[in-house]
């Protein structure tokens, strides 16, 4: 298992082959955070596109630049798919802004259940 902790997230790659990112409680993601986190995912992917689960249940969202980076070509070179884990109306709203307005180059979907998200992500291994 690989594990890293950045300023904004705890990032884990276990035997499932899916990278799981847990945004720290009440954290508001900026562009630098997005870059730092994707760099770790890239390292974990070891040159291959990798499916990613991002748990934003406790997050306070992200800046416009961060949202744009999430949908950037750069991100498309790292992730094969991305599931955003939400729970409250606030996290659902944040999730929709991440995947709605900026069209990503890879499949994205909102989930409220982590195991359902993992089942979906395994299609992109």
């Amino acid at each position: 298992m690989l594990k890293a902790t950045t300023k904004s997230e705890t990032i884990i790659l276990d035997s499932s082959g899916v990278v799981k990112c847990y945004v720290h409680k009440d954290y508001f993601l900026e562009l630098d955070d997005a870059k730092e986190n994707l760099e770790v995912v890239k390292r974990f992917g070891n040159g291959k596109l990798i499916p990613v689960l991002v748990d934003i249940k406790e997050s306070k969202g992200g800046s416009k630049e961060c949202r744009a980076y999430f949908a950037s070509e750069e991100a498309g070179k790292i992730q094969s798919a991305c599931a955003l884990l939400v729970s409250s109306p606030l996290s659902r709203l944040i999730g929709n802004f991440f995947i709605g307005l900026n069209k990503t180059k890879f499949p994205t979907k909102l989930f409220t259940d982590e195991s359902e998200a993992m089942d979906w992500l395994k299609n992109f291994l």
């Binding site: 508001f28 306070k60 969202g61 416009k64 409250s88 109306p89 606030l90 709203l93 802004f97 307005l101």
Partner: protein, 287 residues
């Protein structure tokens, strides 16, 4: 939080929505990011405004770049026109000189030069025509599409190898008559120019699609390959067509006019089975 405080916050939300309705996306609500419903709405509005403001700025920058590019291409084309005309005059002089003591090889070179120069002049004229399209002067009015099509088709009826049919129930549409005439003329003349049959058969039809009409011009010509379909609406894409004396700007102009009036155009075609050009016309005054 007491009722008055909530009312004040909601008033701010309404104010913000009013600004957005006036396409002013610069406002932001002072809000905490919590699960409180008013906070969620405020935060959502802030994000939405932020994205829309960014897109409005991006769009206006793109429009500015586009305008500058058009001005630039017009200036370049205009400045190139004069030396090309001079070259044309010089070629004529050389040709006249060659007529005194004819030299077959030199005449061959002169013909090649003339051809190349004419092609360049056609391109320059094409760029000028394309850049001169002025949509500020467009006058939208009610047009009986059936009548207009018949009038245009009549001009082509002199050619015995052309047969144009127009559907009986063509609608009355709202469009600029000059622009619509230009679109139909371009589509009809293209169908005739590229046709490879003894009789060029063209059918003009319309379909009511709810909010808009679909106008189609179909022919029995050679069809268009899959690779060409995506390119034919680009400027000069068809210039070197072996079948015709095409300038390669007609469909680019057609597409530009249609896009400027909130319409779309596409072609459906299979090689050897003819083509159907389909464009849309808004029903209401939505231009």
């Amino acid at each position: 939080m007491n009722n008055q405080a909530n009312k004040d916050r909601l008033d701010k939300v309404v104010e913000m929505i009013s600004s957005m309705a006036k396409l002013d996306f610069s406002e932001r609500l002072n809000t905490e990011i919590t699960n409180d419903p008013i906070d969620i709405i405020s935060y959502g509005l802030n994000m939405l405004s932020e994205e829309l403001e960014h897109n409005v700025v991006k769009k206006s920058k793109l429009e500015e770049i586009n305008t500058n590019l058009e001005k630039f291409s017009y200036t370049v084309a205009h400045d190139l026109k004069s030396p090309l005309n001079t070259i044309s005059a010089l070629i004529s002089l050389i040709e006249m000189e060659n007529e005194q003591t004819p030299n077959k090889k030199i005449q061959e070179y002169i013909n090649l030069l003339k051809e190349t120069n004419d092609r360049s002049r056609n391109m320059i004229n094409g760029i000028l025509e394309y850049s001169r399209l002025n949509f500020r002067d467009i006058t939208m009015q009610q047009i009986d599409l059936g009548k207009l099509c018949s009038k245009i088709a009549e001009e082509y009826s002199i050619n015995k190898h052309v047969s144009i049919s127009i559907d009986d129930h063509m609608p009355v549409i709202y469009y600029d008559e000059t622009a619509l005439t230009q679109i139909l003329n371009n589509l009809l003349s293209n169908a005739i120019k590229h046709n490879d049959k003894d009789i060029c058969k063209i059918q003009v039809s319309s379909r009511d699609k709810g909010k808009h009409y679909e106008i189609s011009v179909s022919d029995n010509g050679p069809g268009i390959s899959e690779a060409q379909k995506n390119k034919i609406f680009n400027l000069f894409e068809n210039q070197n067509s072996s079948r015709s004396n095409s300038t390669g700007i007609g469909l680019a102009i057609v597409k530009r006019i249609i896009s400027e009036t909130n319409g779309t155009i596409h072609v459906e075609s299979e090689q050897e089975n003819g083509s159907i050009f389909i464009f849309t016309v808004q029903k209401k005054e939505e231009y």
